[in-house]
Homo-oligomer: 393 residues x 4
């Protein structure tokens, strides 16, 4: 366990001891069991889930086989990029190639059991009934403790999928890989659109909520040949970044009402509404509006509701049947998207203003402040850089 | 217009003059314009929509470009099979073959405009912005009046897709073609399942509400290689018919509560829940339960809510995201499914107890009674047989 | 190793010592390592590949990472059904449920490595770069020797997917599971058809070569809602069985020429040609004809060419582009299809004349004769029943 | 008919009178029938098919319902962009909006009959059994003669799909729309890849033959998020342009042999081969090599063989089954891709060096020279600009 001491020997980590309580502690440098890997963290992102955990909203996957109430002490951090510091014997990357010390990798955010009906049936790993999540279900009480990326080192259990970062991909983009891999609802939505009529290009898109997850959807839409993109948010800076990434219509919810937003989106789309609407707000109340922003026969991707915020009212007739609308709930990220996503990002690293995504690189010592920052107007993605940014930065 | 006279010369039709008011009237035998077709009706079904119209619930497609408030006088009947009595010159069937007098056909239930963005873009015809519906938007005030199948003859406008009935397919099965073509949500649901993991066979299915539309989903599931099927309804006779068609678990909502139904479905599916759940109840309240009957990563098809029954509460986090559930609203039937559906039915006509589907063949003169029957326990599909069943039958 | 002695103690197996040389030998009853399973064989089928091996045509997967020249001594048999006789500790079935002694299972025909780029990337297991095949690459020289189903017991290595047979599914149908799982080209072909226009039912199908693999395609087509089916073969008995399973047009290649067959298929399909053509002949020369039997925009599934029979001529312009034809090469069977396939078969066990599929149950002692039988007119699927059919049967 | 006179009154057009014979003639300015549209040509491209026609290779769609032997006199030109000069009454664009004089449009290259089994069944329009092709089957003998884009004006028959060019899309990019709409094989190939394992991004691609059609595939791959791209050609300039558009490996067939090319592609792809290989060479001999460049489980798109160049040898076992390869023949362009393609191009007009695509703008008077140019090293896409480039340019 952590010693609660910020200085001295051992591996530094930002440890949550309870809601609102976070501070640097030190852990023994771990022995690495066979099949496991220890990486030295370059960057570890702050995710929306982490913010909820810090507020004490700790119920995840409610109603599923892997429902969990996150327990403290916890080292958060499941969006990671780092270099291999030690391996427990020969450990293979996702392509079956042995990892070498110094290799730069993005590890999967989860470890699947490999033996449940979903794992054995070829489902995406996030469907695993006994999924373990770095920085979430894997807490710091369990030795060797270092199960989150908000630390100098991250301990990766045997069986964790490990993805080599392409040389041309800067780590500040690679750290987005996990979040980019949650955007597969967009692929499914495009498939549904194609199933109804045909083309798989040029679709119009509304992204409701352009924090990091919404922005990842927007980036993907841009890189995969979608058409016009509308961004909706309440924070002006986020809308600005969305605009820099190619959103052509920016709507601030504090300056417009629903009727106006619906009208503006219809105006942009020849009166139809958007082909696809992504709800990445994390608040239940946006969903009914999303159902009205989408066109007849279109698809709404519900990607933000990872924490239970209660029910909202939906009209099965008017919202779904009469308008032939599909609604996709997204349950997590797909590990088989990590490598192709990194390759696509590598090829397009200079095309889009990726330098605007990671807005802050923070030391572990300023964790509470970093979490605060991640929720405000002045940031986009806030990451920890435990090994390069000095405590006083 | 109809003469309000039940006997004498002219074409007999059951005319709704307002909510709860229906009776036989006579119309002049029409001239057939170029491209149009007149068919002599063999069977014309009573659909859930018709029952709503008869109750005065006449708002359809709320919130869409073809939203309409059904107007009287109206000859209902959009599920039709009949023989060609006259054609306006050479008229081609769906395969481009000229129709001959005496050919047995199932006409599409709608006529698309051919010029809106959806028609021109290759969308299914039910997406047309100016869709005209036989027996619904096409009312009896407009000459030549005979725009519904509850009549001796049905007038089919130029441009109506017309499908030849395979010789081996009895008309009492062919009359199900339109309703069978509303079941495409099942195909999409299976595609979504395959997209997540692979197989396209053996899926477990819950059909919630096994009136004619639910039964059509059940029939399709049986004929297309699905696995175990659960039927839920409140009417014992409907459950019996569902059992005869292969449902292996029958649950009566008056004898079980939601918790018990969820438990029974999980028991049948190794604890998982059903791969696909079809809501064909027509009542908004079934949807939340459907979301709990479906397994992690499964799909709910909302196929019954063609009339606005108000909103219900859904939890975006627990019902959709945490369980990675997709929800598909179905907007109508696909005309490109008519012919392949009839061919598949023809090949399987003897395999399933189709004789249990059409439970009553009624004369036009007993229309009010027929509509009543269609809502009770003793019937499944009630059809009119205007040319063969005597008024006194 | 086998003792070359047909009687006495030990586990009996039919061992190929070289091309054309097969006889019963005895092996020690094996110790079962942790994670492994020993099953007592009920039935083990003779597959086309086995016939090739017996003729000395032993090159498989030419030009791929798992290319192999099959080595003797060999116990063939990869289409198996049996009951669990021993397990190495707790071993889970495909649904994550521990196996019990006496459980009836169908084991996968292969073991994937779990670590190559395909295994790690979520591909079907037959894409594994280091795939091991029971009865093929896994030969009898390697202890504990019993790696094929033509024996009293089959030894299943740790990691082999194991599928529980539904109670209602007779073993003589369950033994078809592996071969049924090679028919996924049909699913892909239907998806391609749907991608071009829409319906996923009622497709017309030609099965060229209705030996067991072709028949499995035909069965699948029937159970999954395809339309008219044409069977082509040179053996009258096989055509008869195809007819019993619902093929409506039977063409014997010794009585018709290509032009006539093309004409007959067009006649059946309104002049178009078949939506899907499956080549299950195992001879290269059928493919060009298949390309002419398929309609514009249709798909040819090449499923029989598992042994290299040399090249044939194809015209990229006339055969592919001008007619917009897709051609799918099938590389093996998908393990994720085993369980859903068995469930679908269980539900339909009485619908189709499955008793005509397994035509002969043979003892191991008559192996050479059984292989001979499997190639002639009088058989369909020939299986060994090592524990129930006496040597003298 | 044309008057064979290059100067004087009337509409100028480049008329092919036979193989190798082309010159400017004048035609009467046409009356525009109801539903038809006359556009003033901005650009009209020279396509590979046109080069074949000029050589007297005039057989198209061999073996299909719309097989044709192109007849002279002919005004070629089916890749067009122009402005509306006259309409026959109210004519709607693809979105159902009436066209105004001066609107800039890209017309479809074909007119479908609307009544054959494919047209009525919802297939892409290029499947029409009675398809008429501008600049090909529609020749100059039929009044009003102006059925090709190599002329000042193009006459568009009633029923031709007409697509509005987005304001931000320059005409020199819009002229690529038709050819870009032939690249749908790439979409299908990606769907097949996704069906096998999952991701729809980052696929590696080989484009064999980077003339305009190959380049369009490469552009699409770049804009739709593919990964590494390999270009193969014999002309250095074409490879250069491919490099400018993002191909990372350029292989000249005059400097490498097949074994070397296969080795280089495997080196780039971790030993696997390319996910997708597009054959856009127009020569039959490239196909076998394409089958060896693709990885296990990958897809080859045969997109260039629009003219019959005879058969080549393919090994069904080694090339297709053993390697689980799919092969897609592409039959034409999809009209439902025109508008979304233009919208995607408009959004990305500045991202890629589109100015390198149209290499030459020619006057009608230099038609023979232009066709010659289009086949040489120094050009990419050669277009006519009949109304803006002076005859002497």
């Amino acid at each position: 366990m952590g010693d609660g001491v910020a200085s001295g020997p051992g591996v530094r980590a930002a440890v949550m001891r309870g809601p609102g309580r976070i501070g640097v502690e030190r852990f023994p440098y771990p022995d690495v069991e066979p099949g496991a890997v220890l990486i030295k963290i370059e960057y570890s992102g702050i995710c929306g889930t982490d913010k909820h955990t810090f507020r004490g909203e700790t119920k995840q996957y409610a109603g599923t086989p892997h429902e969990i109430d996150i327990e403290f002490p916890l080292i958060c951090g499941h969006e990671n990029v780092g270099v291999v510091a030690e391996t427990g014997g020969v450990v293979l990357d996702s392509e079956g190639v042995p990892l070498q010390l110094g290799d730069r990798i993005v590890p999967a955010a989860n470890v699947a059991c490999g033996s449940c009906v979903f794992c054995r049936g070829g489902f995406p790993y996030y469907a695993c009934e006994r999924l373990e999540d770095y920085g979430n279900s894997l807490n710091a009480a369990r030795p060797p403790h270092l199960f989150g990326g908000w630390a100098e080192y991250l301990y990766l259990l045997p069986g964790t999928p490990l993805f080599r970062v392409p040389d041309e991909l800067p780590s500040e983009i690679a750290v987005l890989t996990e979040e980019m891999s949650v955007t597969h609802g967009l692929d499914t939505a495009r498939m549904l659109a194609a199933d109804l009529h045909g083309p798989r290009v040029g679709e119009t898109l509304v992204v409701y909520g352009v924090g990091p997850l919404g922005l990842c959807h927007l980036i993907k839409a841009r890189l995969l040949g979608c058409g016009q993109i509308v961004a909706i948010d309440r924070l002006p800076h986020r809308l600005e970044v969305a605009g820099a990434f190619g959103a052509s219509l920016l709507l601030n919810v504090t300056e417009t009402d629903e009727a106006e937003r619906v009208a503006r989106v219809r105006e942009l789309t020849g009166g139809l509404g958007a082909d696809i609407v992504v709800d990445a707000t994390g608040v239940a109340t946006a969903l009914p509006e999303c159902l009205r922003l989408v066109r007849y026969g279109g698809t709404v991707v519900e990607a933000g509701a990872f924490v239970d915020m209660g029910p909202i009212g939906i009209n099965p007739s008017a919202d779904l049947c009469a308008r032939n609308v599909s609604l996709l709930g997204i349950g997590g990220e797909r590990s088989d998207f990590y490598l192709p996503t990194m390759r696509m990002l590598a090829l397009n690293a200079k095309r889009l203003p990726f330098e605007q995504v990671v807005s802050h690189r923070m030391p572990l010592e300023r964790a509470a402040e970093a979490i605060e920052l991640a929720q405000g107007n002045d940031s986009m993605k806030v990451v920890f850089a435990p090994n390069t940014v000095p405590a006083s930065a």
